[in-house]
C-alpha cells in the first residue's frame, strides 16, 4: 500500500515530536503534560469519529470504552500485578468486544437502527459503571489506587513517558482514520451514512463493515483510556463512567468537523485548550454551558465543522488567530504560551463561525 502524503507527514511529525522531551529541560513540565492531554483527546475524538463520522451511527458511548480501558489497567495491573504493555492490548481488545457486542444487538434490527444505537450507547456507559460497582473484583464501590503502579523506565521520566505513550496512541488513531478515509471500508461507510439501504443494494456488506469500524474505534478508545489511567492516582467509578468523556469527544468532532479525519484533531486541540484555560481561570461551571451551547450552534450553523470551514476561508482563520494573540502578546497579559494560543484559537474560531455564502453546502452526515 503506497504511503499517502498525509500518512507520511503524520509519521514524520510523530517521530519529530518523539524527541521533544529531550529538549524539554528548560520548559515547565506543565507543557509536556498539556501536550499529552491534547494527544489523549486527539486519540479519543479520532477514534470516535472513525466510526460515527464515517457511518453516521451516533455513539454516545465513548465513556464506556474509556472506562473499560482505565479499569482494565486498574484491575490487571494495580490489583493483579500484570505488566503494562500486555494489559494495554487486553484493554483494547475488551473495548472492541464491548463495541462488537452492542453492534451485534443493534445492527440486526430492521428499523430505527441509528436511533437505537445512539440511545443504547447512551445507556451502556452507566450500566458499565453499575457493573463495576456490583463486582468487587472490578471495583465494588471502593475505587482502585493506581499510584503504586510500576512504570516503564525506557521512555524517560514520567512526563516524557506519558507524553510518548500518548503520542503513540494518538498517531495510531489518526493513521487509522486516514487509512479508513481512503479505503473501501471508508467508502462503504460513507455510503451507509448517506443511504444504507441503497448501499446494501449496491453490494456494500453493511453489517460486516459497521462491525469492523466499530471494533477498531472501540479498540483505540479503550487503548487510549488504558494509557490515560497512568496519570490518574485513584480510580473511582464516578470519575470514569460519567458524561464528560462522551460529551467532549462529541463536541470536539462536531466542532472540528466529522467529514474529514483532521476535524477531530483540530476539534480536540481547540476544545481542550479552551476548556483547560477556563478551568485554570476558575470558570469550570461556565465551561459546561459553553460546551452545550457550542454543540447546538455547530449543528445548526456550521454543519461541515471548522476544519473544512477553515479550508474554505483560510484567510479568516489566519486573521482571527492573529487578532486573538495580538493583544495578549503586545500588552503582556500573560506568561503562558498556552493562554496566548488559546486566545488565538478563540479568535480563529469566532471568525470562522461567522456566516459564509457558499455555492453548494453539503449537509452534515448525521443521520441514521
Amino acid at each position: 500500500m503506497r504511503l499517502r502524503p498525509a500518512a507520511a507527514a503524520t509519521v514524520v511529525l510523530a517521530v519529530a515530536l518523539w524527541f521533544v522531551p529531550e529538549f524539554a529541560d528548560g520548559f515547565p513540565i506543565f507543557y509536556l503534560l498539556f501536550a499529552y492531554n491534547v494527544f489523549f483527546w486527539i486519540a479519543q475524538a479520532s477514534s470516535w469519529n472513525l466510526f460515527t463520522g464515517s457511518s453516521g451511527y451516533f455513539s454516545f458511548g465513548q465513556g464506556a470504552y474509556y472506562g473499560v480501558g482505565v479499569y482494565t489497567v486498574g484491575v490487571l495491573v494495580a490489583k493483579r500485578g500484570w505488566p503494562l504493555l500486555p494489559t494495554f492490548v487486553v484493554a483494547g481488545i475488551l473495548g472492541a468486544l464491548l463495541g462488537l457486542f452492542i453492534g451485534l444487538i443493534v445492527f440486526r434490527l430492521r428499523k430505527l437502527r441509528g436511533e437505537i444505537f445512539a440511545l443504547m450507547t447512551l445507556a451502556v456507559a452507566f450500566v458499565m459503571g453499575a457493573v463495576a460497582r456490583v463486582s468487587s473484583t472490578i471495583d465494588g464501590g471502593q475505587g482502585i489506587p493506581l499510584s503504586g503502579v510500576e512504570l516503564p523506565q525506557a521512555l524517560g521520566d514520567f512526563p516524557a513517558m506519558i507524553f510518548r505513550l500518548g503520542l503513540i496512541v494518538a498517531t495510531l488513531a489518526v493513521l487509522a482514520a486516514q487509512v479508513l478515509h481512503h479505503s473501501r471500508l471508508g467508502w462503504g461507510l460513507f455510503a451507509i451514512r448517506d443511504d444504507e439501504a441503497v448501499a446494501e443494494n449496491l453490494g456494500v456488506p453493511t453489517f460486516r463493515f459497521k462491525m469492523m469500524a466499530l471494533g477498531i474505534s472501540a479498540f483505540l478508545a479503550s487503548l487510549s483510556g488504558a494509557v490515560h489511567s497512568l496519570q490518574i492516582s485513584y480510580v473511582t467509578i464516578e470519575d470514569v463512567f460519567n458524561i464528560r468523556v462522551p460529551l467532549l469527544v462529541i463536541l470536539m468532532s462536531i466542532l472540528g468537523g466529522t467529514r474529514h479525519w483532521m476535524g477531530p484533531v483540530v476539534g480536540a486541540l481547540v476544545v481542550y485548550t479552551l476548556n483547560d484555560r477556563l478551568n485554570a481561570a476558575g470558570l469550570q461551571d461556565v465551561s459546561d454551558l459553553i460546551v452545550g451551547g457550542l454543540l447546538i450552534f455547530m449543528i445548526v450553523a456550521v454543519k461541515e465543522g471548522l476544519y473544512l470551514r477553515a479550508r474554505q476561508r483560510p484567510l479568516r482563520a489566519a486573521i482571527g488567530f492573529a487578532v486573538g494573540i495580538g493583544p495578549p502578546i503586545v500588552l503582556g497579559l500573560t506568561d503562558s504560551a498556552i493562554t496566548v494560543m488559546a486566545y488565538g484559537l478563540l479568535g480563529a474560531v469566532l471568525l470562522l463561525m461567522l456566516p459564509v455564502t457558499a455555492p453548494v453546502e453539503e449537509a452534515v452526515p448525521v443521520h441514521g
Binding site: G188, V198, L202, G203, T206, V360
Partner: protein
C-alpha cells in the same frame, strides 16, 4: 440462462396487501414492461425482486438459483441491479464518487483508485462526464436519473430494473432516455421497465405485464394487452389521463 422466475410472491405492509400472489418470468434478452395504475404493486414487486425488501411468501429464482431470502448485497453479485423511482444518490458525494462506489463492491471489488477510473466510462456512457466532480446537490432531475443509471450499469448487471426512469422528464429528455434504454439493451442486458407512460412502454417492450391491486391481470404482446377490457377498466377507473 439468466432467467428470472417468481412464483406466487406476496407482501403485506401492515394492513395493506401490496402483492397478493404474483407469478411470472423474465427471460434473458427481453425488455419487459411492468405497468399498472397507482398502488398496483409495481414498485413493491421491483423491491422484492431486487432484494431491497424481503418477500413474505413465494419463491424467486434467478439463473437457476433460489434468491428468495438472499440479502441485497449478494443479489447484486448475481447481476441484478435497479434504479429508484425518486433518485437516491449518495448525497454527500460527487457524481463520480457515486458511480465509483458500486465498483468497489459487488463483482468488481476494485480498490478506490481503479474504481474511480472505471467509473469515468460509465459517466461517459450516460453523458455525464462533464459533471464528474459536481456534488449531487448540484445536479438536476434528468442528470440524477442518468446518474442512477450509470451507477446501476457500473455493477455490470445481467438484469436491470428501471423504476419510473422517465417520470418528471420533458419530451426531449424522454426521447434521449428511450435511446439510452435501447443502447443498454443492445449491450445484452435484460430489462424490466416500470412506467406510467404507456405509449413509451408499448414502444420499448417486447412483452407487457399488467398489475392491479397486487395481482397480474394481463400479460403478453403490448398492443393486444393494452386493449384488453380488464386493463382498460383498471386504468381509466383510477386515472384521468396519461401523462
Amino acid at each position: 440462462m439468466a432467467d428470472l422466475y417468481f412464483d406466487d410472491v406476496t407482501k403485506r405492509f401492515g394492513g395493506v396487501q401490496a402483492l397478493a400472489g404474483v407469478s411470472g418470468q423474465v427471460e434473458q434478452g427481453e425488455i419487459v414492461g411492468l405497468v399498472g395504475p397507482n398502488g398496483s404493486g409495481k414498485s413493491t414487486l421491483i423491491n422484492l425482486l431486487s432484494g431491497y425488501l424481503e418477500a413474505e411468501g413465494g419463491k424467486i429464482t434467478f439463473g437457476g438459483e433460489d434468491i428468495t431470502d438472499r440479502p441485497a448485497h449478494r443479489i447484486i453479485e448475481m447481476g441484478i441491479a435497479r434504479t429508484y423511482q425518486i433518485p437516491r444518490p449518495f448525497g454527500t458525494m460527487t457524481a463520480l464518487e457515486n458511480v465509483s462506489l458500486p465498483l468497489m463492491f459487488g463483482t468488481a471489488r476494485h480498490d478506490p483508485g481503479r474504481a474511480r477510473s472505471e467509473a469515468q466510462q460509465w459517466l461517459e456512457f450516460t453523458g455525464l462526464e462533464r459533471h464528474a466532480d459536481t456534488p449531487v446537490a448540484g445536479l438536476n432531475l434528468h442528470q440524477l436519473k442518468y446518474l442512477e443509471l450509470a451507477r446501476a450499469l457500473a455493477t455490470r448487471p445481467r438484469l436491470l430494473f428501471l423504476d419510473e426512469v422517465l417520470s418528471g422528464l420533458n419530451p426531449t429528455e424522454i426521447t434521449q432516455s428511450i435511446e439510452m434504454v435501447r443502447r443498454i439493451h443492445a449491450d445484452g442486458i435484460t430489462i424490466v421497465i416500470v412506467e406510467h407512460l404507456v405509449r413509451v412502454v408499448t414502444e420499448l417492450a417486447t412483452r407487457i405485464v399488467v398489475l392491479d391491486r397486487g395481482r397480474v391481470i394481463a400479460e403478453g404482446e403490448p398492443t393486444t394487452v393494452m386493449r384488453d377490457p380488464e386493463v382498460v377498466v383498471a386504468y381509466l377507473g383510477t386515472r384521468g389521463r396519461h401523462a
